[in-house]
Symmetry: C2
Subunit: 416 residues, 2 copies
């Protein structure tokens, strides 16, 4: 079975600690097993590669009520003339399953490992066990359809309203087969495999035509609308530079033009010099509450070394990141004092900002993780109301120094 | 009592239908009664002007634990070097009362009219009755402190991190003394007074030094974190151009440079020409679902006449806006089919985008209301998760045409 690993052209992300086994789901989507340990390769277990579900090819034409064949309706995106933003319009996602919370509609968990003999046919994982799996989202808001033209057209013939296929890519990364598991409770060795998944997908998707930004992220918690409780993250690959990256690229490019420096590096060094807001560090990574934090709990994590993208991490940096991510999630759960000392399952978003795929300003950017929570206290949430949603003007209910102070209470800064 | 009206220099917003009676609350904040009908002037009722609460002057110094006098701690704002955005840091707001929903902490409703003999002392309205009242927020995220320097300083001495006082202004507008009332159920004559309040505050606050953007808005619904159920709106007056306005000004300015035209006017005319997404109109206003709508329910309302700001509305436009706003709220509540035909209390944000106070690009802007809801269906909410909160990349779960189609089902386009 070693052939599966080596035959997958593992490239710069491969190493002796991880095994990658690719396959295709029944409808044609890409699927990858990532095993924590290559012992699987020489061990008794092989990965089940065949998806038993009788799914149609995902881009198959469909029949209308009169029996006419209609081509696959790809999601489109339109450019908002008032802001310049592209808005993917993901009508297909309206039918996606929800297994968490009061609006739950699905009858099973599609991220679970398949149980032998289980009649449930919507599971996405062919095997009855796994470590980490990655696959293309079945209900993508962006997808590249083979043979489909990416040329823009005009809505109602008006040049104000450009539209074109939302030719991006949406992938799901499952962190563990245990659907009740929390990412904060996973061993560092497993989080190391998750880091590997981020690096692997960044390396591979960067080679795909038309993708401008690769965005690995994790949404955690029903409070922010996570529709599947199973521990997982996502990778959104946009066929455009997303608005927040555009803002950051504009700022870091202007800073470079003005000073010759790298904005993100100078921010990190400024935080190290100030000291007060640095909350964790190890040999490869610095975690700090940014001096102008906008969320009630916000931590940015920057590599010590100058790096643009996740696939540039070396082996040590991958291990150190897994350790840092684990510590960050555990401290996040302990951040709000629940009175009983047990902490809480913190809702959070972990958002990887990395250099865009080909935008010429990429050289002045620098890899960073932006970790934040909407939670303001054990029983309060920050909502994005008029100021944030209507004017994109954030108002913080706390200060960066208060956030950092709480982290300092939770443990030593140096976790290396 | 007519003197109170005329002595208030009513300016361009005054007219024979509205009476404005100014006073000050016990802690020095501005307070205004706006009465639907000047009959009060000659009637038996006068407005109670005296706030009976023993409140300290709001900018009074306070004593620390050792009895030393500390100056009033004004809210500060810091500029995020990574985005260029100013972030007001409103630590004082952490103590604000919450009377709605499970996190409710307050013992009364500060927006209620005072009940004679009521021992509750936190009510903000001196009178036992009112139509509409406006007052400065007791827990503002931005405030102008008399005598306080607005000069920027540096956080930790680092030129990357500018900070200065968040010298803006936050006002509250109560729409009705009935704390159970819904804005959608108010008579058009009352909404006319609310329109008048928007115009009045825009006219007056435009004259205040240091205010760059006046943003009247309404947050409605516990689902979006509204902390007081009482029907009310707010006016945020920013000492900077908020990020979304900056984006819109950049786009409309570039459009003018390129074409000589006004972007917002051409968008409105494009929507009229296309027709499909126009959902309501009367003699003064056009309501349409924008061709690149990002929310599950989104309607923009534009004046027929070229106007920059709310205080430029003439008498007819104010009445027509009240009628349009009423119709919009009613259709919003009927939008999602609840199965029982009764509709729902839709959570929404109504955000007024008007020309900035003095930015030179203001002439190429045009007044518009952006009305939207987070609700996706009777039992689903759109959450702003990784893509929206982390990358500011909105993904729509529907299409503008589907939204417009539902509005068309709910009633005739021409409500004039």
């Amino acid at each position: 079975m070693a052939a599966q690993w080596t035959s997958y052209q593992p490239g710069p992300y491969a190493n002796e600690h991880i095994r990658i086994t690719p396959t295709k789901l029944a409808d044609g989507r890409d699927f990858f097993y990532m095993d924590d340990d290559p012992a699987y390769v020489s061990g008794s277990k092989t990965r089940e590669l065949k998806d038993p579900r009788p799914l149609d090819y995902r881009f198959a034409p469909h029949m209308d009520a009169d029996g006419h064949e209609l081509p696959y309706a790809a999601p489109m995106m339109r450019r908002d003339p008032l802001t310049g933003d592209w808005i993917p319009m993901a009508t297909a996602r309206m039918n996606r399953p929800i297994t968490a919370g009061p609006g739950a509609t699905a009858t099973g968990n599609p991220l679970a490992a398949r149980k032998p003999g289980d009649p449930y046919q919507d599971g996405e994982v062919p095997d009855s066990d796994y470590d980490v799996v990655i696959f293309e989202n079945r209900f993508p808001s962006m997808v590249q359809v083979p043979g489909q033209s990416g040329e823009p057209t005009l809505v109602d013939g008006n040049p104000l309203w450009e539209q074109k296929p939302a030719a991006g890519r949406c992938e799901v990364i499952c962190f563990d087969p245990d659907e009740q598991g929390l990412p904060a409770d996973l061993p560092v060795s497993r989080l190391r495999t998750v880091v590997e998944a981020w690096a692997f997908r960044t390396a591979e998707i960067s080679q795909m035509e038309g993708i401008e930004q690769i965005f690995p992220f994790e949404n955690h918690g029903q409070e922010i609308g996570v529709s599947l409780a199973h521990p997982h993250g996502q990778v959104y690959c946009y066929p455009f530079i997303p608005p927040k990256m555009e803002q950051e690229l504009r700022q870091s490019h202007a800073y470079h033009e003005r000073t010759g420096g790298n904005l993100l590096k100078d921010i990190m060094e400024g935080e190290l010099a100030a000291g007060e807001r640095v909350v964790m560090r190890n040999a490869s990574w610095i975690a700090y509450v940014p001096a102008a934090a906008r969320w009630p709990l916000e931590v940015h994590v920057a590599p010590v070394r100058d790096l643009l993208t996740l696939d540039q991490l070396n082996d040590q940096e991958r291990w150190d990141l897994a350790q840092m991510y684990s510590a960050l999630l555990k401290r996040g759960n302990a951040f709000f004092d629940t009175g009983d000392g047990r902490g809480m399952d913190l809702p959070y978003i972990a958002a990887w900002h990395q250099a865009p795929v080909r935008d010429p300003r990429r050289a002045n950017y620098r890899l960073n993780l932006q970790f934040f929570s909407f939670r303001r206290s054990p029983n309060k949430i920050k909502y994005l109301a008029g100021s944030e949603s209507g004017m994109a003007a954030w108002v913080s209910d706390t200060t960066p120094e208060l956030i950092a102070q709480r982290f300092h209470e939770l443990g030593a800064v140096d976790i290396g």
